[in-house]
């Protein structure tokens, strides 16, 4: 058995290393295969060209936000900026940046693996507690950490956004870091990841809720009711005294919510955000300061000023919508993200990691400037739940949909922009299709997870009946 495990581990490392090698081969191609200018890969927020422009402006002692080129974080600018200028002779430009992105990808994959191992352990433990699994050999628990890491490393979306020089690998890393910190109960790390992710792209701010749940309630588990039922069955078996039973029930109906940890977490969030703000203010104090930064980053995200095509639907919508409706629709579309937070949080509070995945998927649908990097993130997080979501509906249909969209999108873009034989509707139709597939993905994942819980409950009751 140990040998088999060793073999599996060996295979995992071979695959992981080969993906890294594949990336290295791709980045050594001159011109980066022109991926960096694909609208699917680099958005106005994540494009490295815009970052280089911002750095150039800063070097020319102008505000990096002068003009409307750069909309990213000033911290990213001071980290990645110098790398965009440095060239190694005989190597393609931006090689150093690409290397940074490859490292970010590797780190993300490793952190995902860590999250997956924790989740796998929790899954096994819960199954044993509920009595489905007498021993770990009884039913095969898939090594979801390894699977997620490999899905992340070999996902074409991830590869494309890593090789295509968009800063989304770093944003993804920050998000995964936050989740990893929460899963392993490293509170400062979780707070740091959350603050950085929010600072970089705003939307991960929604992850505050799942992270608080993670820290407060612990890892993903079946609904607490099941445990109560199981325990009550056991109680019935062991003790017949009603008094003790009631006392025990009273103890367990309240899931212990660790207020202390959460307060600790919030304190760290405050600390880190202060730290980040101070750093930003320091790097921008010669120019417009923090006010300009918020206006040019978050303001740019929220007001959807750039109407250049991407795989979302907003660019065409706001290029076409009548001006006097613009503000109304801006509010409606942004509020759409917020509307779903509460119902999802109520229904999935026992599975905070999965909740985080759903939040990320939703924000990637409703984002102002989505890119495939966002999809790469939620798809690999999805792979963390292979055990639970193993009988998800339409997975093949969705797979084909994603594949078709990613093949059709460049074709439609080429027809419209480069050849001029198609028009904007071609590409927009593609974006609509992509949005539909993502919606189906989210809805199906949620319903599969709820069904899984139901199935657990049912089998639990069957189990109980058998026992009694």
């Amino acid at each position: 058995m140990a040998e088999e495990q060793k073999k599996k581990l060996c295979r995992f490392w071979i695959w992981a290393l080969s993906s890294v090698a594949f990336r290295l081969i791709l980045i050594s191609f001159p011109g980066n295969l022109n991926l960096s200018s694909r609208p699917e890969v680099s958005t106005p927020l994540t494009s490295i060209r815009r970052l280089a422009e911002g750095y150039w402006l800063k070097q020319a002692s102008m505000s990096p936000y002068a003009g409307s080129m750069y909309h990213g974080s000033p911290l990213l600018l001071s980290v990645l900026g110098p790398l965009t200028v440095q060239r190694i002779k005989g190597q393609p430009s931006h090689l150093l940046c690409s290397l940074v992105f490859v490292i970010a990808d590797i780190l993300s994959a490793m952190l995902l693996r860590g999250i997956g191992q924790k989740l796998q352990m929790a899954y096994g433990l819960n199954a044993r507690l509920l009595g489905f699994l007498k021993s770990s050999r009884d039913k095969v628990i898939l090594p979801c950490g390894d699977i997620a890491a490999l899905v992340y490393l070999w996902n074409p979306f991830t590869i494309v956004s890593c090789v295509g020089l968009s800063t989304s690998p770093i944003e993804d890393l920050a998000v995964i870091l936050a989740l990893f910190g929460a899963v392993t109960r490293r509170v400062p790390l979780a707070a740091f990841g959350l603050v950085i992710a929010t600072h970089l792209s705003l939307y991960p701010a929604t992850l505050t809720i799942p992270i608080i749940f993670l820290l407060g309630y612990g890892l993903d588990a079946p609904p607490i009711k099941l445990f109560l039922q199981t325990r009550s069955v056991e109680n019935e078996e062991t003790s017949t005294s009603t008094v003790s039973k009631q006392a025990k029930l009273k103890q367990t109906t309240h899931i212990p919510f660790l207020w202390k940890t959460v307060a600790h977490f919030l304190f760290w969030v405050l600390l880190w955000s202060l730290y980040v703000l101070v750093l930003c203010a320091l790097s921008l104090n010669k120019y417009g300061g923090l006010e300009e930064m918020f206006k040019r980053t978050y303001g740019f995200i929220l007001s959807i000023e750039d109407l250049s095509p991407n795989i979302g639907v907003f660019w065409y919508f706001f290029a076409e919508v009548f001006d006097f409706f613009r503000n109304f629709f801006l509010i409606v579309f942004h509020v759409n993200i917020l509307f779903m937070l509460l119902p999802l949080a109520i229904r999935l509070k026992h599975r905070p990691c999965f909740l985080a995945l759903i939040y990320l998927a939703i924000s990637s649908i409703l984002k102002s400037y989505p890119s495939v990097g966002d999809s790469a993130l939620y798809l690999s997080l999805w792979a963390l739940f292979v055990n639970e979501l193993i009988d998800m509906k339409f997975s093949f249909f969705l797979f084909c949909g994603y594949l078709g969209i990613s093949l059709l999108s460049p074709v439609m873009h080429n027809l419209w922009i480069w050849r001029g034989t198609g028009n904007a509707n071609f590409y927009f139709g593609n974006a609509i299709g992509y949005a539909c597939f993502q919606i189906v993905f989210v809805v199906e994942s949620v319903s599969a997870m709820l069904n899984h819980d139901r199935a657990l409950k049912r089998s639990n009751s069957n189990h109980r009946e058998v026992k009694s």
Partner: protein, 646 residues
């Protein structure tokens, strides 16, 4: 009392004295007209009309003008314009054949369309408001869409790249503006004699607009009197430059065409405008002619020069002046009358060839790349042949250098990546600091302001070519922002290349103050050349789609919201249990009812015997429902698209 009276008298005397001084210094308003004719090497003829109107400094507001146009003086007073130039141009100045290194070309070779720049004498904060008001006033005055320069996306504030160094300078140009006779008529209205009399009577509209190039320019500058009481005087300079092709009858291809005023314009000059101070016609011959006639002593042979073996003028010039390489024949139109109109003609007898002096570098600009997503702008500076002859090189560092300033405005929808600026000297890429001495960039903000780039290059004299390239992304506009003919493309205004160390002047040594045209030639003028206007096609959205896009997108979001909420809300187990318990309690009737409601809802009746678990079944159903909705929405979208496309 007596002292009071005395002081009063004294005051009166002083006052009258002051008034006398004021009147004494108060020169009369002067108006002068001139026409310069110049045969060009490529068998064309340049005619340059020059009108100058001077209003002396005066202390009273709203005073009466004798000659000076009231509209202009009001403009100057209202907006406190220090200097202003407005030009309407159609056609492109051919720097290779028509010259690039003489005052005529450096002042009158203008970019296509409308160009306006103005320096204001107001506090820095009010400059933009003054500019906006000025554009509106000029728009009304000249029947042109100059008011489009009001928006901050179309003008810029150059600091040093454009000629005059001032932080109160605003520059804007409209390349698309069609220039025609409706712009010329108001321009002519500013002249005291309009086009009824004098030289301006030659401006026959069909012949003026038939030319290869015509540029009407209005330049006004205020002259400080030095006295606070007097305020400032105004000099208004109006020029019209046309390049015409004389009709030739000779078969020989290398023979220059002969022409006369009447053959060029279809009109003759009948007397001068009586309000002018001076009214002259000049004929400038340059280049090879001078070389051939070098041995001739002009002072003595002036009267013979106009009739020689090579060419013959139809009239005897008053005087002949010579500059280093050109001759100037001066004619006075005073003598002409109704019976004997003034009609100068030039007849060539021998084939002749000459070339014009050219700017040190010839500039051209072009677009690179294809597609509607991104591209690059390249400016190519090529050394001209005449470079060796030129003076004005900078020999400061021991080696000879040419300085060139490049000034360029980018509209916001051309999103320029300034970090991609590359300079190639003689096809070798150079690092920026070698030739690029100074650069000033103000990047464009989307829908708010246009971008501007000023560069100072210092090039070695022996340079053959310099290429500057800069990459850009094309912007995507809201449908309302596209002009009516969106697929025509958008114009990038001309870049201006000026050579700060090179100054063009023609010094004819004589009569400095007499003729404003010649004195303006004598002034050192900056050598400038404008590049072509570029046409950038931008991607257009489908203009007929707004409703479809709104409905389809909203459908998608409704789908997302509805289906997700549905999944979250549904508790199949509980429903089932509830139904079961209800059925057990009440028996047949309720069960029937529930069956009916189930049927109405479109759900199959959940039968206990079915092998599949009901939860899974209904989830399949909901997914099917979603799939159906998507299918219907897709079909509707496709139908909409194809029906609108037809």
């Amino acid at each position: 009392m007596a002292s009071l009276l005395r002081s009063l008298i004294l005051l009166l005397i002083v006052q009258s004295f002051l008034v006398a001084i004021a009147f004494g210094s108060n020169e009369v308003e002067e108006f002068s007209e001139a026409l310069l004719l110049k045969p060009l090497p490529d068998r064309k003829v340049l005619a340059h009309f020059h009108f100058e109107n001077r209003a002396p400094p005066s202390n009273s507001h709203g005073r009466h003008h004798h000659l000076f146009p009231k509209a202009i003086s009001q403009l100057v007073q209202k907006f406190r314009v220090k200097e202003m130039e407005l030009s309407f141009t159609q056609g492109r100045w051919n720097h290779e054949h028509w010259g690039g290194f003489d005052p005529l070309s450096s002042m009158n070779a203008k970019p296509v369309g409308v160009e306006l720049w103005a320096v204001f004498d107001v506090p820095q904060s009010q400059v933009d408001t003054s500019w906006k008001n000025l554009t509106h006033a000029l728009s009304g005055l000249f029947c042109a869409s100059i008011n489009f320069l009001e928006s901050s996306t179309s003008y810029a504030a150059p600091t040093w790249g454009f000629g005059p160094n001032s932080n109160k300078l605003r520059y804007g140009s409209l390349p698309r503006e069609a220039v025609c006779t409706e712009n010329l008529t108001p321009w002519l209205k500013l002249l005291p004699c309009r086009d009824k009399d004098g030289i301006s009577a030659l401006m026959n509209r069909p012949s003026v607009y038939r030319g290869f190039y015509h540029s009407q320019r209005l330049h006004l500058s205020t002259v400080e009197s030095g006295q606070e009481v007097l305020g400032s005087g105004i000099v208004l300079e109006q020029t019209l430059t046309v390049v015409l092709q004389p009709e030739t009858t000779s078969v020989e291809s290398n023979m220059q065409p002969s022409w006369s005023l009447s053959s060029l314009f279809g009109r003759k000059v009948v007397g001068r405008c009586v309000l002018t101070k001076s009214s002259n016609v000049y004929l400038q011959l340059e280049g090879l002619l001078g070389h051939e006639l070098k041995n001739v002593d002009t002072e003595i042979e002036a009267h013979e020069l106009w009739k020689n073996a090579e060419f013959e003028l139809s009239l005897k010039p008053e005087r002949v002046l010579r500059e280093s390489s050109s001759f100037l024949f001066i004619f006075d139109i005073d003598k002409s009358s109704d019976s004997e109109p003034f009609d100068i003609g030039l007849t060539w007898k021998l084939p002749s060839k000459w070339s014009c002096q050219q700017a040190p570098l010839h500039a051209s600009r072009f677009l690179m790349g294809s597609g509607n997503e991104r591209g690059a702008i390249a400016i190519l500076l090529k050394a001209t042949e005449s470079q060796e002859k030129l003076s004005g090189r900078d020999l400061t560092n021991g080696h000879c250098t040419i300085k060139a300033n490049i000034f360029q405005i980018f509209p916001w929808y051309i999103k320029v990546y300034y970090h991609t600026l590359q300079i190639f000297v003689d096809q070798q890429q150079t690092t920026d600091s070698e030739v690029l001495k100074k650069i000033n960039v103000s990047p464009s903000t989307d829908k708010v302001s246009s971008g501007m780039m000023e560069m100072m290059l210092e090039l070695p004299c022996e340079v053959k070519s310099v290429a500057i390239s800069i990459e850009y992304d094309k912007g995507f506009l809201h449908i309302d922002e596209y002009p009516p003919d969106a697929n025509q493309g958008f114009d990038i205004p001309s870049a201006l290349i000026s050579f700060p160390n090179h100054h063009a002047s023609l010094d004819f040594q004589e009569e400095l103050s007499k003729s404003p045209l010649l004195s303006s030639f004598k002034e050192n003028s900056l050598v400038r050349s404008y590049t072509e206007v570029l046409l950038v096609p931008l991607t257009t959205p489908d203009f007929s789609m707004p409703y479809n896009v709104i409905t389809i997108t909203c459908t998608i979001f409704a789908l997302y919201f509805g289906s997700l909420l549905n999944v979250l809300r549904r508790r199949i187990g509980e429903e089932e249990r509830f139904l079961k318990s209800q059925g057990k309690k009440t028996g047949g009737l309720k069960q029937l009812l529930s069956r009916i409601t189930a049927k109405i809802r479109g759900r199959p009746i959940e039968e206990q015997s079915s092998s599949e678990s009901p939860a899974a079944q209904s989830s399949v159903l909901s997914s099917k429902l979603i799939f159906k909705i998507i299918l219907v929405a897709g079909a509707a979208a496709a139908w909409q698209y194809f029906s609108t496309d037809k």
